[in-house]
């Protein structure tokens, strides 16, 4: 057993072993005792070589070093909040982090938003599962990337699965002028829209100038969505650009420009619409009381078309009714109050039967578009229509008023079917009156024999928005309910308690 362990010996041994000692003599066999079986001798030498090789291993050369992650100056999460985050994130390989105890999926978005409000950084070992979670749930990305901070971006440069991190703009984090320029010039379409939206929020004029700069080279479908991004912080300063967009090659771009202009009460377009509206709807006092007489236009002329009114009705309504709706929806609501009275008084005026519904619908659209609280309030006071319109009008009201209105609506309604969108429009957490109304409504449907899963929408909002103090009430409800509802109430209570704990841990 004195064979030298040298680099050439081993490949020879392997080749011999592959072919078999019956076919190929053992290399250096002359050194070994001829009485020894060559196969056994080969195995002896293989063992010796193996142990020698393993015992003599040396480190290799390291790959060129890359710079470390930038330091994150933000404070670390409190210890308990850090544990909470570990619990909320899905474990690697598991399909979901949800258990029967509480709905964890609903809590994660709230956790991330709250942690960012406090300005914490995520614990380093939790950044990978955090980035994985946000990769699977794109609605988490903004907050996840912010909480992950510079370490998240550093990791994303090293793992293609997390590339989205580099494309996700973060609040309060400019990323440098160069980075912004690059994003606008080279980014994917969705990134550019996100970028423009955020820029618009920060600097309305700057964002418009940026868009004007590349406007003529953008594709039609892109122009449409970029234009949409101007909706936020819209002002009279945008009018010249929007007015020029009324002559755009794309019809949809023209329509969007017109809609935006119509929300600017002082715009030339709004003035033209008001003129058309006054021609179509007149206050008359003939024969006793005051009433509104409606004469919709009988044709859609070129000027109307340029102002965004389609020549043919895309809906089932007649063309005249459709044109009336488009004109009134784009007319500044103030037009009606001049001489007609308060919104409530205007709404109370009798209208010729044929056009009454069209007119009221158009006013509702105008109230939403123009964000007019007085009109929204007046319209809601007399509402009996589908909750879809109500939810849109509700969004125009101040938060506490939304909650009050919805609570009243709930007390007067039988089921829960119509209220989902209304509840979504209400501020979270719900004030006591609204929480109480929702609990009563849930009790009613539970007692009425409905199934909890047919109300999953409402229950989902309730998980996010019911105040934690209602958890005890839910436990009491669970005690009286049948099994499916009892389970649901218990789970809802657990979620509320967990949410309260979670938020208090973030605010030690």
């Amino acid at each position: 057993m004195t064979t030298a362990i040298d680099g050439t010996d081993w490949p020879e041994l392997v080749t011999t072993a592959l072919l078999g000692t019956d076919r190929r003599p053992l290399p250096g066999a002359a050194d070994t005792d001829p009485a020894t079986d060559p196969a056994t001798a080969l195995l002896d030498r293989a063992a010796l070589h193996t142990v020698g090789r393993r015992a003599g291993l040396l480190p290799g050369r390291a790959a060129p070093a890359t710079p470390p992650a930038p330091e994150d100056p933000r404070p670390a999460l409190p210890e308990s909040a850090s544990q909470r985050l570990a619990m909320l994130l899905p474990a690697p390989g598991s399909s979901s982090g949800a258990g029967s105890l509480a709905n964890v999926n609903e809590l994660l978005p709230q956790y991330l938003a709250a942690a960012n409000t406090h300005g914490y950084r995520a614990p380093a070992p939790l950044v990978p599962p955090l980035l994985d979670a946000a990769r699977a749930r794109s609605e988490l990305r903004g907050d996840a990337v912010e909480l992950a901070g510079p370490l998240g971006r550093w990791l994303a440069e090293r793992n293609p699965d997390w590339r989205y991190v580099l494309r996700t703009p973060v609040r309060g984090d400019g990323g440098g002028q160069d980075e912004e320029q690059r994003l606008w010039q080279e980014g994917l379409f969705a990134e550019r829209v996100t970028y423009l939206t955020r820029y618009r929020r920060r600097d309305p004029a700057g964002a418009r100038e940026l868009l004007v700069g590349s406007w003529s080279t953008e594709r039609a479908e892109d122009r449409l969505l970029f234009l949409d991004a101007l909706q936020e912080n819209l002002s009279a300063a945008d009018e010249p650009f929007l007015e020029s967009a009324l002559s755009d090659r794309s019809k949809n771009v023209r329509l969007t420009a017109a809609e935006l202009l119509s929300t600017l009460p002082g715009s030339a377009l709004a003035g033209r619409m008001a003129e058309r509206a006054r021609a179509a709807v007149a206050l008359t006092t003939a024969g006793g009381g005051a009433r509104l007489t409606v004469h919709p236009p009988t044709a859609c002329d070129a000027a109307m078309q340029r102002d965004g009114i389609p020549a043919t009705s895309p809906t089932g309504r007649s063309a005249r009714a459709f044109w009336l709706g488009e004109i009134v929806a784009a007319t500044p609501l103030g037009t009606w109050c001049e001489g007609f009275g308060t919104p409530a008084e205007v709404l109370a005026l009798p209208v010729s039967e044929e056009w009454a519904q069209d007119l009221h619908d158009a006013w509702a659209r105008a109230a939403v578009r123009q964000n007019d609280t007085a009109w929204a309030r007046a319209l809601l006071a007399g509402i009996g229509p589908g909750a879809g319109t109500a939810a849109k009008l509700l969004a125009v009201l101040p938060p506490d008023e939304r909650a009050r209105w919805t609570a009243d609506f709930l007390s007067g309604s039988q089921g829960l079917g119509d209220v989902f969108q209304l509840l979504v429009a209400c501020p979270a957490p719900w004030p006591p009156t609204l929480a109480e109304a929702v609990l009563r409504a849930l009790t009613r449907v539970a007692a009425g024999g409905g199934y909890p899963w047919s109300h999953s929408g409402v229950l989902g909002v309730a998980e996010r928005a019911l105040p934690p103090e209602t958890a005890d009430r839910l436990d009491a409800l669970a005690a009286d309910a049948d099994s499916a509802w009892a389970e649901m109430f218990t789970r809802l209570a657990a979620t509320l308690r967990l949410r309260a704990t979670m938020l208090s841990e973030l605010n030690p």
């Binding site: 592959l18 063992a47 070589h49 070093a65 544990q83 990978p128």
Partner: protein
Amino acid sequence: MSDPPSTVVAMEDRWTPEHVLSLAPDAPSRKAAGKLSAPAPWSAEGSVSAAARTAVWGECKGSGSTPYRTVVDLSGPAFQCSCPSRKFPCKHALALLLRWSQGAAEQVGDPSEVPDWAEGWLAARQLKSERQQQEREAQPEPDDNARAAAERRLSRRAARVAAGASELEARLADRIRSGLADAPGQGYAGWGDVAARMVDAQAPGLASRARELGAVPGSGSGWPARLLEEYGLLHLLATGYRQVDLLPAPLAATVRSRVGFTVDAAELLRGPLLRDRWLVLGSRDSADDRLITRRIWLRGSSSGRDALLLAFGRPGTAPDLALPTGLLLDAELAFHPGVRPLRAALGTRYAAPETPEPTGAAPEGLDLTAALDAYGRALGDDPWLESWPVVLRRVIPAPTAIGWELADPATEQSLPVDRRSVPDSGLWRLLAASGGRPLTLFGECGHRGFTPVTAWYQDGGTVRPLTVAQFGGRP
């Protein structure tokens, strides 16, 4: 050995949540414990930290009308809960410890204030452990008849194993004569039969090595060299066993244990024993369809000795030994005999695991050359060692084009990461903890690379332990 404990835990020493979570038997348990650690379900919590008792207890409201009663004896740690879970420790015990680690479960002044339901179990446990200790010490030497019978049994088995080893030697040589080139076509079947014959020959160690030979040809490029290495080592083991009676006692013990002879832990614990304050370096679970194996690595703070404890559980039941990573355990170990003793049985524990001083500091480590050297020297004693436990100092984990490596920024040298026992998610967490800066890393250093187990990384001003991959290991 029945002397009163020399160290008295006077000062209260609460573990960190990381320590607590390192006890979790699986990922769902960690999650469930996190959820349960909210204040709402808990009542009647308390803890005691005195020489005779170090324990935490509490009542946790579950779905039933009576709450679960949970007690943790920190000196084990050992766990008791009235819930029906077969997990060990159960989520209630973990949640209770999490709460305690964050300041809940106020300390009582005197052991007499421990509630009866908790004290009942704690006292029974203490009594049992004392009785076992006495039995170990008082066990009479077996009489001549019994010893003769045992020796006859042993020699019958030795003869059977020797026959198996000879047969294995012959099989290996046959294959070398006819050549390994057609090994891929033969697949597992041939070696599966051989493994079955080794099981019949009562040589389970030879059986599992033989079974593994069947997998090598399918393991990608370079398989002939790897296969020949394994042939050589198995040949060495089989021939070694044939001459086992001629070998020096420690080497003979190593060969016997590699072949598959086991040693009775109770027998080992009769002595000799090594008492030390053992640092828990880390643990990893691996599972196949029959067994969960937990490896827990320790290092003696005075002796400097490395030790490996093994615990087993059936699928769905975690192994019944759990020690918190990063803490010091004052205990006696009995090493399995061998030329390079590593595996040990855990004997008397003298106190609850304590936080090392300075608080949570990372253990001392080696550079990469010294780490490979430590493995090489161990290999000189026991040629069948796949790896040796090592703490690396100041390494930076990095993904590269050809796999993960651990780089030493001072020497610009690196070791490859052996990824077979570490899921990718664990490596990314390790990279995040490092952030491209050096950290201390405990793991197994072997000829296939380094398998990370526990990292100590800088977080703000403190050093924290990170379990790289507690679950998801290969058997």
